[in-house]
Amino acid sequence: MLSIDSVEKGVVIDHIKAGTAMRIYQYLNLDALDCSVAIIKNAKSVKLGKKDIIKIEDRIDLDLNVLGYMDPDATVNIIEDGRITSKLKLSLPDKLINVIRCKNPRCITSVEQEIIQMFKLWDREKKSYRCVYCEQENN
């Protein structure tokens, strides 16, 4: 069994869908952190069968919108003195700003790069967003 030290003070992102932790790591820019960050892939899970976990050895502010978009079923545990002091529930955000890019070559954002990339939640069940400029669906 792989052993990774428990976090004394920091954040644990748990119940991540197996195989997506690296993408979350990149989207949250965790590579820019100075503190220890552990990515555990394919850990055993009663609920999911297997799951990914990210442990961050520092109390940082996470962009919950990005995390909610990446995996709304993940849970965020805030750790103080080795104990979970709060659990944050995620959900799909209503709006995404500069998280994903519009792929429509006819969209104004394809030629004017400085425009903020903005998407609105279109269908919660399908996890589908539409670009606010051209309304193209992003899947």
Binding site: R106, I108, I115, C131, V132, Y133, C134
Partner: protein
């Protein structure tokens, strides 16, 4: 400050008001000849247009205002690589209101975000063209005296036609309208549009046969079926004549039918139909000017807190 980027930027009540004003303009255009005196419309057309650009310009001139602008990207700073945001910032210093057409979808929304004057979307690529929708609604209202209880046929390319999508969205807000969607299988209306019809409780049917349904229609909105939209040439050849309106098909229609088309047409309405009293697509062009006059006045009045424009 108000902008009109998509048709729903005006509520149903506001659209009804625009229609009422446009019909009043039709009755007495001289009463409106000085309503925008001293005001300037910037006509920012990054791509070619005949009717839309000239109708905006004619509308402003008929209201006593003036027009500045450009009619292609080549004759603006866009040719030097200037962004829409920077262009509209500059234009806001010269004009009181602007109409923008751009080949890229969402360009008008970007302009609105940086503008200090009202922005009207005069077409952004294949996306939205709200003043065409208001024109269509005014034409229908002028002919039928109502926007309710109509059986509306939409024929041709229902998949890619932005005017069709906008018109369905707008007309489905009015009660008791029924839609007959006439197109080849390849060019059916997208699911999200039929989803809107279902959500609003509107009756609709899909068919590929115009002749079988034309006798029931109060409105027939024609669009062009383009060769390049088909997956193979054989299908195009087999179907292309089905979607050309001629006197033979029109013989089966009601005397009260109104035939509309956003124009330009190519061959989807035979020239022989032009002289039939049911052909309303050239009147539609005239209504396009009146509704733009009404819209320019409304946006300038709103900017002045409801006072005269």
């Amino acid at each position: 400050m108000r902008h009109v980027i998509e048709p729903t930027d005006m509520s149903v009540d506001e659209i009804d008001q625009l229609i009422a004003i446009a019909e009043d303009i039709e009755r007495g255009p001289n009463d409106y000849a000085n309503r925008c005196e001293g005001r300037i419309l910037a006509s920012l057309f990054y791509e070619p247009s005949t009717r839309t650009r000239l109708s905006f310009e004619s509308a402003m001139i008929s209201l006593g205002g003036s027009v500045i602008g450009f009619s292609s990207a080549d004759t603006s700073s866009a040719a030097k690589g200037e962004s829409v945001a920077d262009t509209i910032r500059a234009i806001s210093c010269y004009a009181d209101i602007c109409a923008i057409r751009h080949s890229k979808e969402g360009a008008a929304l970007v302009a609105a975000a940086y503008s200090r004057i009202p922005v009207i979307n005069a077409g952004d690529g294949g996306h939205e063209h709200p003043t065409q929708t208001y024109t269509d609604l005014l034409t229908i209202h002028s002919v039928k005296k109502s926007l309710c209880g109509l059986t509306v046929g939409l024929c041709g390319d229902l998949k890619f036609g932005r005017t069709v999508h906008s018109l369905i969205k707008a007309l489905s807000l009015y009660r008791d309208n029924e839609f007959v969607l006439v197109s080849p299988d390849e060019l059916q209306v997208p699911e999200y549009i039929t989803g809107i019809l279902k959500d609003r409780g509107c009756l609709f049917e899909r068919t590929s046969d115009l002749e079988s349904c034309i006798s029931r229609l109060d409105i027939l909105y024609m669009t062009r079926v383009q060769r390049e939209r088909f997956f193979n040439e054989a299908d195009y050849v087999r179907l292309k004549d089905s979607y050309i309106l001629n006197m033979s098909k029109l013989a089966k229609a009601k005397d009260s039918l109104a035939v509309l088309h956003p124009l330009p047409r190519v061959n989807e309405i035979a020239v022989e139909v032009d002289n039939d009293p049911r052909a309303k697509y050239f009147s539609q062009v005239q209504y396009g000017k009146y509704i733009r006059m009404a819209l320019i006045m409304k946006l300038l009045e709103d900017r002045n807190g409801g006072g005269a424009c």
